[in-house]
């Protein structure tokens, strides 16, 4: 079979990741155009019913490797390489997110195969798949084709929508895989630890996002005061969350949350691609940054080149005055 194989990531409760479900939906659509089938790989102890339910997104078969641990890339590379070797898939497709990048890259080396990452669209062309990838901070889009099998496609976060269809249930096939020696040399000690208080940024209509440009953790109060005046919540970039300035629950982007508020006010955020994917669907984007070359100025609706330490406090006062007046 010349089909498309997708890795379906899940959390410790067995709930499948939204981007993985999107990848299965996309694979099923493309497989239809190529006249082939889409299938999924699942690792860890996931029940028959949950696996079979992936059929609703278009997976004809689900290859399950119970003995491989979830959350690390290399064991999944072992499993996918074996399934591809046994069944002859022509493409491996991954939804956005960190693990897809790692697994896709490992598979590239293992199978001596072509890989394209940050893919926003996939087209079927002359019986083959062509991946579209934005490059150079999205200033150009390249169409990438593959030489030989399999072609490996790693999607950008939220590139593919998860759509349930009137599908039956997938056939679940258990696979036994001997893990490679090196993939057993990394072990998960603690997975998915949450840090910081819960802030429900996904529901907020107005968000003030803070980035490195705020200078230090204490300056987040400028963003908080502005958010309070606007009646919104505070969000953060990965860099400041990693640096411990703000809780993980407020993080937007590739490894954080995806938001689409009415207003996204980006304070001191450069607009790197990992952040952009999490907030680009916002209705109105207002950016304040002193670096006039910051990529965010290329996709915001209103950009202010200036020092946010001067602008934010005055803006907060002006909004308060406007609201009370």
């Amino acid at each position: 079979m010349a089909g498309i194989l997708v890795y379906a990531l899940h959390d410790d409760e067995g709930n499948f990741n939204k981007n993985s479900l999107g990848a299965i939906s996309e694979a099923a659509k493309l497989a239809g155009e190529l006249g082939t089938e889409a299938a999924a790989v699942v690792v860890g102890e996931v029940g028959d019913e949950a696996c079979a339910a992936l059929g609703a997104y278009g997976a004809g078969k689900v290859y399950r490797a119970k003995a491989a641990p979830e959350g690390l890339a290399q064991p999944v590379v072992d499993v996918m390489a074996k399934v591809i070797a046994n069944e002859g898939f022509s493409y491996a497709l991954f939804g956005g997110g960190l693990l897809g990048f790692e697994i896709g890259a490992g598979l590239t080396a293992r199978l001596n195969a072509g890989v394209t990452m940050e893919v926003t669209e996939v087209k079927a062309q002359d019986g083959k798949l062509v991946a579209e990838r934005p490059v150079l901070q999205d200033s150009a889009i390249v169409d990438v084709g593959y030489v030989g099998d399999p072609g490996i496609i790693i999607g950008r976060l939220n590139a593919f929508d998860a759509t349930e269809r009137d599908g039956g249930s997938a056939e679940v096939v258990d696979v036994e895989v001997e893990l490679s020696e090196w993939s057993t040399k990394a072990t998960m000690v603690n997975r998915g630890e949450q840090r910081g208080a819960d802030v429900n940024i996904e529901d907020a209509e107005i968000l003030v996002g803070g980035g490195r440009g705020l200078g230090e953790a204490a300056n987040f109060k400028l963003a908080e005061e502005l958010a309070a005046a606007l009646g919104g919540a505070v969000a953060a970039t990965r860099a400041v969350v990693d640096a411990g300035w703000y809780p993980y629950a407020a993080q937007i982007g590739q490894t954080g949350k995806t938001v689409a508020p009415k207003l996204y006010l980006a304070a001191g955020i450069s607009g790197a691609i990992q952040h952009k994917v999490g907030m680009q669907s916002s209705e109105n984007i207002l950016a304040i940054n002193k670096d006039q070359n910051a990529p965010i100025f290329e996709f915001c609706d209103l950009g202010v080149v200036g020092d946010l330490h001067k602008i934010l406090p005055k803006l907060t006062e002006a909004i308060k005055a406007k609201k009370s007046g």
């Binding site: 990531l9 959390d11 959350g71 890339a73 290399q74 997110g97 960190l98 990048f101 790692e102 697994i103 890259a105 490992g106 590239t108 080396a109 001596n112 195969a113 072509g114 890989v115 394209t116 990452m117 062509v130 150079l136 901070q137 200033s139 150009a140 390249v142 169409d143 084709g145 072609g151 090196w182 993939s183 040399k185 990394a186 072990t187 000690v189 997975r191 998915g192 630890e193 990693d242 640096a243 490894t255 207003l263 691609i273 109105n284 984007i285 207002l286 006039q292 209103l302 950009g303 202010v304 080149v305 200036g306 020092d307 001067k310 005055k314 803006l315 002006a318 909004i319 406007k322 609201k323």
Partner: protein, 257 residues
């Protein structure tokens, strides 16, 4: 290490080769400086003895300058893989070539920046690791060493993961892991005197047909401009009171306040 176009250079794709136009000012990939700093901190931390820190790059002749910078930042010596045959290598071919070069060094730990500033691929670490048959982890933001093992933290889909990794290993570090130090004037001056080995593909056993355009498994079929998006308005803050007035008017117009 990777040599990349300087941040101030307007990057473009050369339509005749479908490759990144690499003319103009170049610099050491800023993400890689976090890798060197991580190596320095491991050495200074004293939990393990570090014999030497070696900076390795693959790239054209000019990439020597990136290696000099890496040495100025703390590497003891450097290795430069350079050969016409490598031009046009994709991720698959580049990872293979780097792995062959590293193999000859037999490192205990390979550290990389999480991405290059130009290609933005995020993947080379994991490609290299599989070729070297070493465990690997990417986007690591904390490394502790105990009993010869690495205890790494990184952010993934569901929050922070803590992963124990046995050496030898390949680790890509995120830019939040440290603040790279500035090189001293003395280190900058002395960088050119540190040992630098230059290898061609045949020196490290790279099969010529596995690299360059011949060895690449992807083909750029077309380069297109992104879909048109109406450019937003940009204002310079010269008078903050005036700027704030403009912002408030803009918010008001859109019924956001």
């Amino acid at each position: 290490m990777k040599e990349v176009p300087d941040a101030a250079v307007q990057k473009r794709i050369d339509a005749s080769t479908m490759r990144l136009d690499r003319s103009g000012e170049k610099n050491l990939n800023p993400f890689d400086t976090h890798g060197i700093e991580a190596a320095m901190q491991i050495r200074e931390g004293g939990a393990v003895e570090v014999d030497e820190i070696v900076a390795v790059t693959m790239g054209p002749e000019s990439a020597v300058r990136a290696l000099h910078k890496a040495v100025a930042l703390g590497a003891d010596r450097s290795v430069h893989l350079t050969d016409q045959e490598l031009a046009g290598s994709d991720v698959c071919a580049t990872g293979y070539a780097l792995a062959k070069t590293l193999e000859s060094e037999q490192p205990d730990l390979v550290l990389l920046g999480q991405q290059s500033d130009d290609g933005e691929c995020y993947t080379i670490g994991a490609v290299v690791a599989d070729h070297l048959k070493m465990p690997s982890l990417t986007q690591v933001i904390k490394i502790d060493i105990s009993d010869g093992k690495l205890v790494c933290e990184r952010q993934a889909e569901y929050g922070y993961d803590t992963v124990e990794v046995q050496l030898p290993a390949v680790i890509s570090v995120g830019d939040a892991i440290n603040e790279p130090r500035y090189p001293s004037l003395k280190a900058i001056m002395g960088a050119k005197k540190k040992p630098l080995e230059t290898y061609a593909t045949s020196d490290v056993g790279i099969e010529a047909d596995s690299v360059g355009e011949t060895g690449s498994k992807t083909q750029v079929l077309a380069v297109n401009p992104p879909p048109e998006k109406e450019a937003g308005e940009i204002i310079e803050d010269e008078d903050t009171n005036e700027t704030v007035e403009k912002i408030v008017a803009w918010l008001d117009e859109r019924k956001l306040i």
